[in-house]
Symmetry: C2
Subunit: 409 residues, 2 copies
């Protein structure tokens, strides 16, 4: 493996592969397609609809600058010192008050984005081989991090009103081992943009409680409704068996990396210990910036602006898609969130479509990445929040060209 | 488990314990003593020497404010958007250039503090039951996070010149399974303040290479020398079999949560995928603030100031300890780092001493927390970087009172 090079008086390594022996976890963690696509975006001429990127022209930069200045004169060095693992107490109280009626700051743990929340909850729950329930399709970042803990995935098909309840009941009735949790995105899901109806919310919360299965509810897109607010959250319906995950990435700015977990106190205590071992605490300054902004009178106006802007972008995207594709893809106008979930005819393989698009300087995410088990292969996730109207028009033109070419063959 | 309360039309949960079924990992992750102590610090009248807290009067707050303003006008929204997982490329280049001669930005991954680096490397390496080597004593945050991955710990005694080489050789010769790595802090170790001599550095690097065992070298305190720089790092001696961990927590500000991993490129690629699944990326703004400061001409002066200040504090602490304890505890004046590792006579149980100190409004960390295997129980870790001279005097007075009481009984 090594040879002693006497002349040089130095050891020379011939092969490092025997030295670094990664865990099985390393092998089974897939690289995220979107993160890989993010790297391609900088290619000249590339237009990307791949990431779930907010429109960064909406970031309230001047406000954040002002908050930074005020906080520094008020709190000084404390903004830069080690801090409590659970996080900024006023921000926790604000989150509890706004999103979880009747709860308190004690039930909130701040995390480094909702991705860390997913990792933390995976650590908390998953043993190798543990069955876990999740939607089909589901968020690929969640699938990625869950995968690294090697659970046994059970997918439940997600339609326009919510998960298929018959399928869920069947799975619960026939599973030999009780699933550790049901992970779900009931609000403008990434990637499908579907939401749960009130009826489904009620029945799924009840069904899972009856079966003693906790819900992990990911609320990342809940604030991004265009006209009508969504029905009551699963966490509000069943706070005792629901853990809620939230983030400021879509409503404020993802680069700050601030998200949260709301969980029953007893569980939260253990989650805090896990967070401690993971990174001690999330950055103090970032929590302070978020708190400064969301607790100000500007936040509601900011949310209105985001909703209005994204509604306009969604409408424009819808119009362009209609114009080019007409009836070849069936599409409803989006009511919220960041994505269109384009469904192509069965014979179109969107993995291939995706690669052909990349060659034309166009990026979006092939649907197969969002499925556990056997993937459906005729979807494409199309983000509408980041690109300009002009880019959107050009992008959909390119997409249609590629599509036409593929159907010709 | 639940009963349907017909009158209320609501499900009432009688017992949530069957619903949330944590993984074995949850059970085996110990809460960190220091983090728990951090919570007690705010008790009125409490003086704490427990945390490894930098002196926050040294944080270059005005500079950070200026950098924030300049960066915002230069980079604008990009500071708040999603960013690359590997991190700020200029900061990575700066780290490579300063600390790892001959390396490049490609070999650096930015992390949320060095604690995340430890978690990430645990994920990468450790299987349940994997033997891992580490010093006795060792950093408790590392022991905490390693524990959550359930390795089999092999402790090697750390003395004033470095680890006991005979012991290490014996372990290597007799282990039935090759250890996954050797975790070490060769520079002003936390908690012992010991460093490796040049001779030990050479021989340990060679020995581990010969045995095909990678080194995880934690350099957190390396910059904090008072007069003489320490000998060459293990990573520079053997870059092909050493992974280096660093942090700006001690040299700039811990609240920013920026650390790094330097590893051979091939390994780094897998580490990036793990980091992706853990939190997508570390906050952009924080990386920018760190880069702005360390790349400026002010950084060297800042380091000099920190070294001078801590040397003075260390000297004052030494004088107070000498004054009260005289020869009852043997002590050498510190040459760097943040701690005194107080060794009491064998019959003094510092877990008990610690509890008695807390009652008197004094916090430090009992030595037992820093040992894998059978702990030594007559040490106390005493931080000297954070408290004022007056607090230090008062704290050591209190410590001596408690000590006297204990020896009287």
């Amino acid at each position: 493996m090594y040879k002693s090079n006497k002349k040089m008086g130095k050891l020379i390594l011939e092969n490092t592969s025997e030295i670094f022996r990664p865990s099985a976890r390393t092998e089974r963690t897939p690289a995220s397609v979107t993160r890989d696509i993010l790297k391609v975006i900088d290619t000249p001429g590339m237009i990307s609809f791949a990431g779930g990127l907010p429109d960064d022209s909406l970031f309230p930069i001047q406000d954040l600058k002002n908050i930074f200045e005020t906080s520094i004169s008020k709190k000084g060095a404390r903004l830069f010192q080690y801090a409590d693992t659970q996080g900024h107490s006023e921000l926790r109280a604000w989150i509890a008050n706004r999103y979880y009626p009747g709860s308190s700051a004690e039930e909130i743990l701040l995390t480094s984005g909702s991705q860390q929340a997913l990792d933390l909850l995976s650590r908390y729950f998953i043993e190798e081989g543990s069955p876990i329930l999740l939607e089909r399709p589901s968020y690929l970042g969640a699938i990625q991090v869950f995968s690294s803990y090697a659970p046994s995935f059970i997918g439940i098909n997600y339609g326009e009103e919510g998960p298929d309840m018959e399928e869920l009941k069947y799975v619960l009735a026939t599973s030999s081992e009780k699933p550790k949790f049901f992970y779900c995105i009931p609000d403008f899901q990434n990637p499908s943009s579907y939401s749960y109806s009130l009826e489904i919310r009620n029945s799924i919360s009840k069904l899972l409680l009856e079966n003693g299965i906790p819900i992990l509810e990911d609320t990342a897109y809940r604030e991004l409704y265009f006209e009508e607010e969504l029905p009551i959250s699963l966490c509000e319906l069943g706070p005792e068996h629901t853990i809620s995950i939230g983030t400021f990435s879509k409503t404020l700015a993802p680069g700050l990396r601030i998200g949260w977990i709301k969980a029953p106190k007893k569980i939260l205590k253990d989650l805090i210990v896990q967070k401690q071992s993971m990174d001690l605490h999330s950055p103090t300054l970032n929590q302070e910036l978020v708190y400064g902004f969301v607790s100000s009178s500007k936040y509601e106006k900011h949310l209105s602006l985001i909703r209005k802007t994204y509604q306009k972008k969604s409408g424009h995207t819808f119009d362009c898609l209609q114009k080019y594709f007409r009836n070849t893809i069936s599409l409803k106008i989006s009511k919220g969130g960041l994505f269109y979930w384009l469904e192509f005819p069965q014979e179109i393989d969107t993995d291939l479509l995706f690669r052909k698009c990349l060659e034309k300087g166009l990026a979006a995410v092939p649907g197969s990445s969002f499925f556990v088990g056997k993937p459906e292969t005729n979807h494409l996730r199309w983000n509408f929040s980041n690109a300009s109207e002009e880019q959107t028009k050009l992008g959909i033109e390119r997409l249609f060209e590629v599509y036409k070419e593929m159907t010709k063959v």
